[in-house]
Symmetry: D2
Subunit: 337 residues, 4 copies
C-alpha cells in the first residue's frame, strides 16, 4: 500500500506514521516527491485496518500499487531516479557511456583501452575480472589482480569502474575496487546474490536474463531495492529467440516499456545484444533513439587476440565515431553526453 502524507506535515508526524505502520509488521520505504512524503508499506496488507490508517493524523491518501514490483514502480516513486557515479549522473539528461574490454587481460591492455574510451567521451570503464563462461575450460578472468589493474587504469583516466560480481561471497571484494557492481544475465535470478548486493553501498547494474520477461527483470530489481539499496541501473542486453544470425535479439521495445513502468534508469548493451562488431553502432544509435539512458559497449584495441568476445568488440576509432553520432541523436530527445 502506498500511504501519501499531507504536504507539509512535520517530520515528527511522518516518522510517527512510519513507526505505526511498522508495528503491523510491515516494511516501510520512504520517498519524497513534489514536497510530499510517500510511504510504501509492504507486507501482509490483509491484516491491517486500512480505513483506520486513512484516518490517522497526517495521512492524505491511500493507494494500492497495482503491480507486483512495488518499490521500483512509477506508482511508488513518480520521478526518475538519478544515480551519481564519478562524473556521471545516470538517469539524468546526461547519457551514461560505459565502455571497455570484455575481460581485463593485463596492465597494458587495460591502460590502452582506458585511454581510448576516455578520450572518446566515456565516463565509466567496464572490464571483467570474474567471467561466467559456458565452458569450464575457457579463460575465467584474472580475479582480484584484474580488479586492481582495472581500478588503476580507470583512475589514470578519470573513469569510474563497473565490474561483474558472480557470487554472493564475492560482493565485498568486488565492491572494494568497483564503483558499480554488475549482476550478469545468467545471475539475474540468483536471489542470494541479489540479496547481498541489496546490502552493498554501491550502485548495481542489473542485466536482463536471456529468457526473462520485463516483469521478472523488475521483480529482480525489487529484490535488491527491498533490501535497502535503491541504486539500481537496468541493462537490456538481448534475449534468446529462434533467430540465430545474431547472438541475441536486442529487445529495444523494453526501453520505452521500462521507462513507463519504473523510475529506474535503463541502459543498453549492443555488444552482447548483437554479437557482431559492425552491428553494434547501428543498434547503439537505435537504443539512444528509443530513449535509453546510456550504453555499455565492448571496446578492444586488438580484438582478434582478445581472450573473450573479440568478434563483438569495437575498435577504439569506431567507438569514437559512434559517440559523435550519438551526440546528435541525443539532442533530438533533449539529452547530452
Amino acid at each position: 500500500m502506498l500511504v501519501l502524507l499531507r504536504k507539509g506535515v512535520p517530520e515528527t508526524v511522518a516518522g510517527d506514521v512510519a513507526e505505526r505502520l511498522r508495528m503491523f509488521g510491515l516494511a516501510v520505504h520512504r520517498t519524497d516527491h513534489d514536497g510530499q512524503v510517500r510511504l510504501g508499506a509492504i507486507g501482509d496488507a490483509a491484516q491491517v485496518d486500512w480505513d483506520a490508517v486513512g484516518a490517522w493524523d497526517g495521512v492524505a491518501e491511500l493507494r494500492r500499487i497495482p503491480v507486483p514490483f512495488k518499490l521500483v514502480s512509477r506508482a511508488f516513486h513518480p520521478h526518475d531516479t538519478i544515480i551519481s557515479v564519478g562524473r556521471c549522473a545516470i538517469g539524468s539528461g546526461q547519457l551514461a557511456l560505459m565502455a571497455g574490454p570484455c575481460a581485463i587481460e593485463g596492465e597494458e591492455q587495460a591502460f590502452r583501452i582506458a585511454e581510448a574510451v576516455a578520450s572518446a567521451g566515456a565516463t565509466i570503464m567496464r572490464g571483467g575480472a570474474y567471467k561466467p563462461r559456458t565452458s569450464p575450460y575457457s579463460f575465467q578472468g584474472l580475479g582480484e589482480e584484474g580488479l586492481k589493474i582495472l581500478r588503476r587504469a580507470a583512475d589514470a583516466h578519470g573513469l569510474a569502474v563497473v565490474s561483474e560480481v558472480m557470487d554472493s561471497q564475492q560482493v565485498p571484494l568486488v565492491a572494494r575496487y568497483a564503483d558499480i557492481l554488475q549482476v550478469g544475465a545468467r545471475n539475474m535470478q540468483n536471489y542470494s546474490l541479489l540479496r547481498e548486493v541489496g546490502h552493498a553501498e554501491k550502485p548495481v547494474l542489473l542485466k536482463r536474463g536471456l529468457a526473462s520477461t520485463i516483469e521478472e527483470w523488475l521483480m529482480s530489481a525489487e529484490h535488491i531495492v527491498s533490501q535497502g539499496n535503491s541504486q539500481v541501473v537496468l541493462c537490456e542486453r538481448g534475449i534468446r529467440t529462434f533467430e540465430t544470425y545474431t547472438r541475441n535479439t536486442l529487445d529495444l521495445n523494453a526501453i520505452p516499456v521500462v521507462k513507463e513502468l519504473s523510475h529506474l534508469p535503463v541502459i543498453v548493451d549492443p555488444s552482447h545484444g548483437t554479437g557482431i562488431r559492425n552491428k553494434v553502432a547501428p543498434m547503439a544509435r537505435a537504443a539512444i533513439a528509443a530513449g535509453a539512458d546510456g550504453l555499455i559497449i565492448e571496446v578492444h584495441h586488438d580484438p582478434d587476440h582478445a581472450l573473450s568476445d573479440g568478434p563483438q568488440s569495437l575498435f577504439p576509432e569506431q567507438y569514437a565515431e559512434l559517440v559523435q553520432q550519438i551526440r546528435t541523436i541525443a539532442k533530438v530527445l533533449g539529452r547530452t553526453l
Copy 2:
C-alpha cells in the same frame, strides 16, 4: 553461379553468353553494376563445365554465391535496389513514409486519415481491404469496395497506395487499385502467393513472418524475384518471443543484418512491432537510427472506434510530431524525408 562479363563487352556478346547458359537449362538473371554486366545463372550447376564457361568470349570471372538466397544477395547485386512508387524512391537516401489505418472502414474515415498523413509528410497510404483475422467472426475488411475507397482517398491527397493481398487469386484484383502489393506475415511462406506476386508488375512489400529467421525471409523474397519481379521491399514487423508485455518483439538487429546481406530496401512497422500506441514513436525513431529505409505506421483519427488494431494506432497529431523527430535522426545517417 555468378558470371561477370568483361567491362565494355558489346550487348551482342552479353546476349550470347546468357543464351548459351540458358541452353544448359539454367535460369539467367542479369544485373549491371559499375559498367559491368553480371549474370546470375541458377539451376543444376553440377552438370555444367564451368572451366569451359570461364574461357568463353566476354567472360571475365566466375564466382559462387555463397548463400542460399542468390538474386536478392549483395553478392549478385552489390548496389542498393531503389524502387520508385509515386513520389517516393524506396531504398534511396529519401526515407519511405507509409501511413494509414489498419483497415479501410469507409469513405469519411479514409479521406480524413489520408489528408492527415499526407500533410504530415507521408507519401504512401496503407489500408487493408482484405484482413487476415485470427477469428472467423471478426471484421474481415470491405473487399473491393475498400480498395476503391482507398484509391480515391490516396489520389485526392497525392499518395501512392499499399494494400494486402491474401491469396494468389486476389493478385489481379488488388493490383488494379494498389501501387504496392503487401504480403502479410502469416503468408510469408505461402509459396503460391509468392509465385503469383512474382509475376505481377507491381512492387511487393514482404513482411517478415512471426517465427521466420532472416534467412527464411530472404528466401521468400528469392521466391518472388526468381519469378521475374525484382521490386521487393522487406518489412520487419516484430517476431514472436516469450515476452508478453508487447504484442511482438521488434527485431531491429534485422535491419543492419539485412542491409549487409541483401540489396533490397527494408522498412519497419513499429505499430505491429509493439502493439502499444505510446511505444510506436520511440521504436520508429530507433528503426531510422538503425538504418531502416522507411516506416509503415498505423494512424487513425478515432482509434477507440477502429474496427481493428485501435490500441496501436497513432493519433494524426502524434504522427506529425514523430515525422519531425525522424527528420533530424535521418540527417545523422545522411538521409532525408
Copy 3:
C-alpha cells in the same frame, strides 16, 4: 451463445428455434449430445434479446461459450468427434496410423513404401505431391502426376490417402485424389485456404503453425468448421524455439491441452517434430502415452536418396518395430491399433 433444447422436443420445434435464431442474422450450428439438441448461435449476440429467447418453446437453457473458438470447443460439443476415413475411425479408441514418404518421387518408390507401411499396420498413406519448400530451387513435387501415383499405390494396399494442398485453387484437384486434405504448418493462417477446405467434403488435417499458440491453432480450426466442414483432425508437429539440436521442439503438452479444450481428434508428427531419424520412435511412443489419437510418420526405403526430408525418415523395418511398441502403450490408455 449455446442454446440447449429440452430433451425429446419434436424436430419441428428444433427446426423452428434454429430458424428464428437465423432471423437475428446469427449463424446456427447444430450438434446432438445425450439425446439433446444443442444449437450454437454465432454472430452479433449483443443485439439479441436473450431473455426472450430463453422463454421460447422448446428452449431449456442458454450458455455462453467462454472461449473464442466456439464450434470446436468441448463447451459446444462435449463428446469426442470421430472421423471415418477408409478402415480408420480417427478419434475413436483405435489409433490412426498414417505413414509414407515425405514426397512422392515415382511409381516404384510409392508402391514399395505403401506395401511396407500397410504390412506394418498403417491404415492411411501420406505423400506430398505439392511441396512447400523454403528455396525456390528445391524439388517442388510431382504435382497431379504425384497424386495419381499416390492414389494407385494406396489403393493397391488398402490404404486411405492424405496429401497436402498448398493453395485455395488447388483444393478441388487434391480432393479428387486424397481422402484427407492436409493444410501445412506454413499455411495454418492462410485464411483463404482454410475457407476453401471448409467447403470441401473431405476431412482436413490441420497442422499447427511453427509459432502458433494452441488457441490460434483452434481458431484456425474454427475457420474451417464455421464454413460447414466439421471433419478436422489437428496435428502437432513441433514449434520453433531457441533449441537448435532438434529441427523443432515437439510440444506434447499440447496433446492433453487440446483434448480438454476441444472435441476434435489430435495426432502427432514426430518426424518433423524432431527432424532426426533415431529420435522419431521415442517421441512417437511419448505421443501415444500423452494421449494422442494417432501418428503421422515419414517412412522411406532409401532415405539417403530421398528428394526431401531423408534424415528424418524411418526405414520400413524401424517403422514396423515402432508399431509393435505403440501397441502395448496404447493398451495402458485403453486403446487399440
Copy 4:
C-alpha cells in the same frame, strides 16, 4: 584428448601415463570401460606432442572428443552412469521416482506426504527448504528447520532426500541433510554454485535452465564433473517459449538427445513442465515412453492451501494411480520401478 590404454596394462603403467600427462599441465580424468582404462586429458592440448604420447608404453589409441562437453560425453565414457541413492540406482533399469511437496511447510504436511508417496512407490522425497521466488515478498522456505523436517519425514518412510541449494555458501548445510543436492533452473549457469557442488560428496540433480540449449546444459554438467564430482543427474523441466497456455513447454525431445550425447542419467519434472495438475500424468507417461530414467513430481495432500505451486501438485491418490500406469509403460522399454 581421450587416451585409451591397452587392455590389461598393469596399474603402475596406467598411473605412469596419467602422471606424465599431468606434467604437461593437463587435468586427467579416468574411467574404465570393457576392461580398458580410458584417460580424458583436458587442457591446452596444442602444446603437447601427441605423436610422442601415442608411442608411450601402454597407450593403445588417441581420440579427439568432438564435442565441447568432454567428461560427460559418451565419447569419453560409453556406458550409462548409474548413481546409487538410498534404495534407488538412478540410470539403471530401475526408474527413479522422486516425489513430494514443492516446499516443506511443517511437520504434519511433510510426514503425511512422505507416507503417501512412499506407499505409492516413490523412493526419493523432494521438498524445498530454500525457495527461489520471483517476488521478494513470497514465502522463501523454512530454511534449515525445513531441512530437518524433510530428513525426519523421509527417514520415517525409508525415503532418500533431494533438496535445492541456492547458493555456493549453502552447500555444506544442505549436504548435511540431503542425499541429492538440487541445482535449480535459475541457477543452471551460476558457476560459483556449480563449482561448489562439484566439490561435494553428494550426487547433484541439475535442472535445465529455462532458456538453455541442451549443449549449454551439458556444459554446466561438465563444470560439476570437471571439479571431481561425477554423480550428476540431469532434469528436463520445460523451457520457455511463446506458448502461454502451459507454464513451460516440456521438451521431451531432449530425453533421447541427452541419452545419445551423454552417459549421465536424465529424469523429467512434468509438474513444472506443464504447471497444470491434470496435464502432469499424461506428460509423466510420455516422459517414460521417451526413455527418461525417472520422474520428479510435486504431490500435496491439500494443494489449495500449499504455500507454493499448489495448482500443479498432484493429490496423493492421483500420484498412486500414475505410478501404476508408468509400471506398464516401463516394461515396453525393458525397465522396472
